[in-house]
Subunit: 497 residues, 2 copies
Amino acid sequence: MRLNYKIIFHFLGLLLLFNGGFMLLAGLVSLIYRDGVTLEIFLAGIVTLLTGIFMMVSTRNHRKEMNKKEGYIVVAFGWIIMSLSGTLPYVITGAIPSFTNAFFETMSGYTTTGASILNDIEVIPKGVLFWRSLTHWIGGMGIIVLAIAILPLLGIGGMQLFAAEAPGPGGDKLHPRITDTAKRLWLIYFGYTAAETILLKVAGMSFFDAINHAMSTLSTGGFSTKNASVAHWNDTPVIQYIVMLFMFLAGTNFVLSYFAFKGKVQKIFKDEEFKLYFKFITIFTIVAALLIYFRADITQSTVDHPMVLGQLESAVRHGLFQVLAIVTTTGFVSADYTAWTPFLTVFFFGLMFLGGSAGSTAGGVKVVRHLVLIKNGFLEFNRSLHPNAILPVRYNGKSVSKDIVFNILAFFILYMLLFIIGGLVFSMFQIDFESAIGLSASSLGNVGPALGDFGPVNNYAALPQLGKWWAAFMMLLGRLELFTVLILLTPFFWRKR
Amino acid sequence: MRLNYKIIFHFLGLLLLFNGGFMLLAGLVSLIYRDGVTLEIFLAGIVTLLTGIFMMVSTRNHRKEMNKKEGYIVVAFGWIIMSLSGTLPYVITGAIPSFTNAFFETMSGYTTTGASILNDIEVIPKGVLFWRSLTHWIGGMGIIVLAIAILPLLGIGGMQLFAAEAPGPGGDKLHPRITDTAKRLWLIYFGYTAAETILLKVAGMSFFDAINHAMSTLSTGGFSTKNASVAHWNDTPVIQYIVMLFMFLAGTNFVLSYFAFKGKVQKIFKDEEFKLYFKFITIFTIVAALLIYFRADITQSTVDHPMVLGQLESAVRHGLFQVLAIVTTTGFVSADYTAWTPFLTVFFFGLMFLGGSAGSTAGGVKVVRHLVLIKNGFLEFNRSLHPNAILPVRYNGKSVSKDIVFNILAFFILYMLLFIIGGLVFSMFQIDFESAIGLSASSLGNVGPALGDFGPVNNYAALPQLGKWWAAFMMLLGRLELFTVLILLTPFFWRKR
């Protein structure tokens, strides 16, 4: 099968058209707040829009069907072209003059990572800040359609398993139409964003902060309009509880939200991934909250805090907030989790490998994969005792095909391998062990805050230029479920049959 | 199938008999060197010997055949009972008065880890030091028979793949006779140890140091008779080259050495695992040596050393030595690898996950597993492009059954999971991130030196009591290929059918 570049360009053009339109929206926000960079943002939007239109028009007589290889290219280059064009509002307004920094910030935006190179967020013009949160929100939309409509067809990392409504894998042809399911899920995504905006406004945030944080939450991104992130509202717990609720929802499979609105609540509580996601969060929050409350080495039994209800509430709130922020890979910060106890540093580092639910906007390995890994691990013990018994992994009442389990095992191993390689590359830049390892786990998992010099109270500005490019590449790898990007780097992908 | 405790006790008794005999040998060494603790060591030996004889005699009318479950119990409890009885020479002589410390030291010995709690090795009586090295050597013998004759029958972690001569898996009955193959490999193990002893003596070591280091090398253990480990002989490079040669051999499948002595050299160079093992060591040595030589951040091009041949030799030697010491999981130290550059710290940390060849005495994941993982990873890309093609992993010209690949994937994932859990537990003892992560990787991989506070120039004495027990448990887990120990912790193992 020969690659048809026309269809590829056509779709990339469509993405630019779409992106340019969103830039015009940011320009509108800039106009409303009279931040002085309105013309620059509009210019960026028009350039992007026209480029997109030009690409679409010049390739309008493309073949109608896309094959798998073209699908891979559109997905990976789609994310890259979005990030490249997304730098324009930063560069033209001068908010982020360096191209490397601007590219890092947009890639971090579209991959919903939320790592930032901005030392002072609060001086950035409002239109540009809005654009920054919008890159998250657009990225989140992309991930939903990817998870529901595209990855299952490409057969990547067991994604066939989660797309409840999506057509099954098997065929070689890919129909890149956005399915009705994706449209319904976008509606929910939009509705949740609106709801969080309203609730945050009512709880006391300014409307601007509210909408930005809502977009950042639902996409599990993590960009904030404040230097202190959500810790800025430490005196208004209700705001933090609202953010937590929506982080939880954003890390849940959107298909389950759809079922909820359809009244099929029993489907949610039967979903094994959701149950494990819920259990993980509950258990990890209890552990974190207890440790924060006692702030003590758990191997010693000294209680150095009096039993004050307010402190207990604070411990539970920060514990839950940070567990949700890391597990859903949002990466908002309510407190510095690396400053509690050495145990909690390793604990939150470990949580970076969890990830939210499949079919959510969260990054990382994803709960369903862990579920299959755990179930298969137990079965493997049983298999070694009874080598002739056939013991398939069962998920939501159905037995999972061995190919899918295989796929998931290979995904996890590749993930760990890339994590190690990532850490090695970061350590080349004279970054210490803890920071390098943390950067690798955080970038690959699309979390945002890392450890050490790049922990929750720091940002990525101190990373050397090459390190920023490497981090951006790792974010892309993680976001596109590894295979989609790596397959483009294999020689046989480009071989003509 | 009901467990037959008689046969289990019988074999554990046999192990004690064997262990007691070796203690008497250490007593003899003590007598020769007149170190003043001869009677104490003989006492330990006689107690162990008599206990073993008593256990064997009282269970002499045992059933002849052992089933799989009994096999698992004998293997795991065998290592534990060896470690328990192995503490006697330490405790009775007072060389290591604390039972926890003595148990840690023996477990580290039998698992050929080589981590030590001794702050001053050189004051320990010679008979006890000889016993210490002997625990490594006995452990190495145990691992050879385990890898060749026992684990393939239990069907653990793809071990079926490596045991070239061993009978295939499938049956439920286990014949725990030591195969002829194992006996031949022991002969090679013994021969290598003798050869290294002679070479080290000729190169200038005392006979006592020579035999101790030879036992420690061939078992890929790492206990030294000097506080500075092999760095003690930094002025005698030939000694370090001899140690390197035998580390390399100890990390190679002993079956290949057997082929070499049979004149079938072509078999060695056709062995895919050996080729990868060789390539890994070559490439990693080049990287390490270059970085040590220039001692510079590789992202900067400053050369701060003049081109002196002696320095180049030293860089290559220390690079090769540390690569071999970590990859073969011996853990000898010629220089502090955590003091070079941040990159090399992460680099050696990464190497802790490699492990030597299967069928060698090395610990860790093992090269053949990485080979299968890498091959399967590439195939997984191909499979996602051509979902209907059947693409099996091929190893040494044969296609590997999907069950074995599955087994290896599950092994690796379990290994990484245990590594994370291990790090979490260590961090509970107020140990910092880098040290906790390093301890976990090093204990599980049976390496010895870790990172940070437990790096190559430190020892494990500073670990809290509970931490020592946890480290000992992790060493046992890693040494027995995870499944053998973990299966005993599952409820269905103990369920009667």
